[in-house]
């Protein structure tokens, strides 16, 4: 066990003194992600290569100090927040697009590449990286891999895991390994599939082979207003049931629309109870018919207005409104808590009304903006954590909202992850045997609890005896 000063010296030995920070101010900055909690930081390092990353993991391991991988820290589940004093391995310096293969439509990128930068850099190739979280201006590809991030356009394209072919990572032992590969169905167990979404608990990602998606030749974007939330939700369910696969289908309620309009003036109808942002993309000949079909379904559900974006500028403005939603809230409330549950798309109407009811009962300010097409709800609560008892009340309401989602056949998290935020709610969806299996899997990657310990699985998940190892006498 190293003493704190020795730990820092040893890390400096790996990356040099200018890329290790332990000043109280640095510790504060890196103690938090975009969620509501913070934790204790032992040191912050900024590796610039896989080898340096491996060196940092080995040093921390030898010192008996956990490693918490971190990207941009935009995570909302506390995934990058340490629970015990930890070495924060911040990957933002590894931000090079290493190699683009236009013909195979793939690219090797550093984990610190910003999501939007990747698509911008690729603009001339006619390709883009499909997952587009609303935080895409600041979150990293490594973080997207960590959380299996989603975004509006994941409705048609699938979430991050569908766009990751291989991951180079540093294991808990400090080895550099690659899981997955550049060809279809690499042989052996598909470890890449579990590394994606493992929230920094299975390895520190040092390079990612991403799949790139062809830009659609034609896009139509519709803004649709409704007099009730129910009409909007029913429209979503019917569009999905109709056999159409929109590129995106997003919903906002009145409170959210007003906050956004105030902030970016995107031209949203502030008198509507709910607004849908629907997009269809594809071959030029198909998109108009599809846009018409959505408009027709909306009209059948008593839409009060339908506007088709007339050009790219208008389309960009409509999306700016959607993607600025959280910024708009940040402007008006000191703190916000963002939920992230999923429900079957046929149950949207009823679950939404239950969620409003819970909000009312707890007397909290509730706004809704979410990936409706996936059934991925994001009720957002704005509050002031400085008021004693406020956070507890917000969290109590949060738990109820999670419960109603799960009771409707839904799930605990659609895209933000479990982290520390929802760890203790895992028992609502999984039984002891299920959690034990997940704990076994984690143990296979990290038997000594070096990587981001205390996340995802509640304490005591490994409820059965440790399995004997292969070759050991039964």
């Amino acid at each position: 066990m190293l003493r704190p000063m020795d730990l820092i010296a040893a890390l400096e030995g790996v990356v040099g003194s200018d890329r290790v920070r332990a000043h109280p101010l640095d510790r504060r900055v890196f103690a938090k992600d975009a969620g509501v909690k913070d934790g204790p930081v032992a040191a912050v390092v900024f590796p610039e290569s896989a080898e340096e990353t491996a060196g940092c993991v080995r040093v921390a391991r030898a010192a008996g100090v956990p490693v918490v991988p971190r990207g941009a820290g935009t995570g909302l589940a506390g995934g990058a927040v340490p629970i015990e004093p930890s070495v924060m391995v911040v990957m933002t310096r590894m931000n090079r697009i290493v190699e683009v293969d236009e013909q195979s439509r793939t690219a090797w990128v550093g984990p610190g590449v910003i999501n939007l930068d990747l698509s911008r850099d690729l603009a001339s190739t006619g390709l883009h990286f499909a997952p587009d979280p609303s935080s895409q201006q600041s979150c990293t590809i490594g973080g997207n891999v960590g959380t299996n991030a989603g975004g509006p356009h994941c409705l048609a394209e699938g979430t991050t895991v569908a766009h990751i072919l291989a991951v180079e990572m540093v294991t808990a032992d400090g080895d550099i390994v690659i899981v997955g590969g550049d060809h279809p169905d690499p042989v052996g167990l598909d470890l890449r599939a579990v590394v994606v979404g493992s929230e920094g608990t299975m390895g520190v990602t040092t390079r990612v082979l991403v799949k790139l998606t062809e830009n659609p030749p034609a896009v139509r974007t519709l803004l649709i207003g409704f007099a009730t939330v129910e009409d909007a939700a029913a429209t979503v369910s019917e569009v999905i049931a109709s056999g159409l696969v929109p590129a995106a289908l997003e919903m906002m309620d009145r409170a959210m629309v007003r906050a956004v309009e105030n902030y970016v003036h995107a031209g949203y109808p502030t008198d509507a109870a709910a607004v849908l942002l629907a997009e269809v993309a594809g071959h030029a000949v198909g998109v108009d018919a599809e846009a018409d079909m959505i408009a027709r379904i909306a009209a059948d559900n008593d839409a009060t207005m339908v506007r088709l974006a007339q050009n790219d500028a208008e389309r960009a403005l409509l999306w700016k409104g959607r993607k600025s939603a959280f910024g708009a809230i940040a402007q008006s409330a000191p703190d916000y808590y963002l939920h992230d549950t999923v429900v079957p798309r046929t149950r949207l109407v009823e679950v939404l009304s239950q969620i409003y009811e819970i909000g009312e009962r707890y007397g909290i300010a509730l706004l809704n903006v979410f990936h409706a097409g996936d059934g991925n709800l994001h009720p957002l609560v704005s509050f002031d954590a400085a008021v004693p008892g406020e956070l507890d009340r917000v969290m109590a309401a949060a738990t109820e909202m999670v419960r109603v989602s799960i009771e409707a056949g839904g799930s605990l998290s659609g895209e933000h992850g479990i982290g520390m935020e929802k760890r203790d709610l895992m028992g609502l969806v999984f039984g002891p045997d299920d959690l034990d299996a997940q704990a076994r899997l984690r143990e296979a990657f990290d038997p000594d609890g070096v990587l981001n310990p205390g996340k995802i699985l509640p304490e005591g998940s490994r409820c059965f005896d440790r399995a004997p190892t292969i070759g050991a006498a039964p």
Binding site: D101, S104, N148, G158, T159, A162, T171, I178, V179, D182, H183, P184, D185, P186, V187, G188, L189, D190, L191, A193, V194, V196, E214, P216, P217, I240, L244, G282, H283, V285, G286, A289, E290, V342, P344, R345, D374, G375, G409, G410, S411, S413, G414, H416, M426, G431, D434, A437, Q438, R440, L441, I456, L457, F464, A467, P468, T469, I470, A473, P474
Partner: protein
């Protein structure tokens, strides 16, 4: 009498202890697939029963082989099970949420039945197009995707939930019945392609796709060119008889895309027949090398039937008689281009010294540990996966 830990490979019913015999009797299937020979077979009716069998086998050190439709039992390393666990009685379609586009099925349901049911609703689980007797569980366990992968991605992307009877004899559920989910570790995707190494896949929830009304197949001369010019075709396939682009979308869009290709469109999708040669191989490379792989295979085996998926990077081909040297040369080429050549079928002993999978995966140590975590007694299809796992 069987003793724990002893080697009982190949044990026949008569040498089994009374408890084993009772279990076999209780879970005896209605019919026994011919592929399994004279090894005893059980057919659990519920995933819990499968877990019971595995717990029992684990205690006694009995090697268990899993069998679905029995179409692909030779894939991977050879196993010599003491008992086969068949999914023949796990044959229920559990839940079809038509409007939410999800389907829950037990593992033993034939792919053909699932797709027939879904076709009535203009939906598909995008399972292999010419499945024969293959089961959903077998396809998921083998990690097999159909030809429509170019447009819809691999099978892995559609497995939302899995119920597994693990090698340590427990029933484990992972994932959920919603289309988007990051609740805990993604065991569902890990199960895809696991070849039974983690345990028996008992039930899965699949994400469905609506099937657009328009469909056409357009013959083309230059598949790579057509791939580059066509927006999101369903598939671009090359066979020994020529190449074709498979289109899908609104009827108007399909008509427009057919015209852009300058070809004559046949309505609908006529998928190539499965290759029925006794020896079959799958070459997998990054899509950029696909055309090169086709050239290489054609040069080595001019007569071979082949199915090349442009844009995906897989070519399967069949060979009538063994030619070890040329097969080795194709594998060498594939691995030299960063890919792999997997032996899908070969008569016993025809390819001496050749591993069915080729070069083992890079992170072998992790592969071993994950296998151990789910199959600590090493009883589930042992040796199927690369590296003897």
């Amino acid at each position: 009498m069987l003793r724990p830990g002893a080697d009982h490979r190949g044990g026949s019913v008569t040498t089994l202890d009374a408890a084993t015999r009772r279990l076999l009797e209780r879970l005896r299937p209605e019919s026994v697939p011919p592929e399994v020979g004279d090894v005893p077979v059980v057919a659990p009716r519920r995933v819990e029963e499968a877990a019971e069998v595995l717990a029992f086998a684990g205690d006694r050190g009995l090697v268990v082989g899993f069998v679905g439709g029995g179409t692909q039992l030779d894939l991977g390393g050879r196993i010599e099970p003491d008992v086969w666990v068949s999914t023949a009685a796990l044959n229920r379609i559990v839940d079809h949420q038509v409007e939410d586009l999800t389907l829950v099925v037990q593992a033993g349901v034939p792919v053909a039945d699932v797709e027939a049911l879904l076709a009535d609703h203009a939906q598909s689980a995008i399972l292999p197009e010419t499945p024969g007797a293959a089961t959903v569980g077998g396809v998921v366990a083998a990690g097999v995707s159909g030809y429509r992968r170019l447009r819809y991605g691999p099978t892995r992307d559609r497995v939302l939930e899995v119920v597994l009877a693990t090698g340590y004899g427990k029933v484990v559920r992972a994932g959920g019945r919603v289309v988007k989910n990051v609740t805990g570790y993604d065991l569902s995707r890990l199960a895809v392609g696991s070849m039974g190494a983690l345990g028996l896949i008992g039930e899965v929830c699949l994400k469905l796709w609506p099937i657009p009304r328009g469909a056409a197949t357009v013959a083309v001369d230059d598949p790579e060119g057509a791939l580059a010019e066509t927006y999101r075709p369903l598939a671009v396939l090359e066979t020994e008889d020529g190449s074709a682009v498979y289109l899908t979308g609104t009827p108007e869009q399909v008509a427009a895309q057919t015209e852009e290709l300058g070809g004559v469109g046949e309505p609908g999708h006529r998928w190539p027949d499965p290759i029925d040669s006794p020896m079959r191989f799958s070459v997998r490379v990054t899509p950029r090398h696909l055309a090169g792989a086709v050239r290489m295979i054609r040069a080595a085996f001019p007569e071979a039937p082949l199915r090349a998926q442009h844009g995906v990077g897989e070519v399967t081909f069949g060979v009538e008689a063994c030619d070890l040297e040329r097969v080795v040369a194709v594998r060498h080429w594939a691995e030299g281009h960063g890919g792999a050549m997997v032996i899908l079928a070969a008569s016993a002993g025809s390819l001496p010294g050749m591993d069915p999978w080729g070069a083992p995966p890079a992170a072998h140590g992790l592969q071993v540990r994950v296998k151990e975590a789910f199959d600590p007694h090493r009883i589930c299809n042992p040796g199927k996966l690369p590296g003897g796992l």
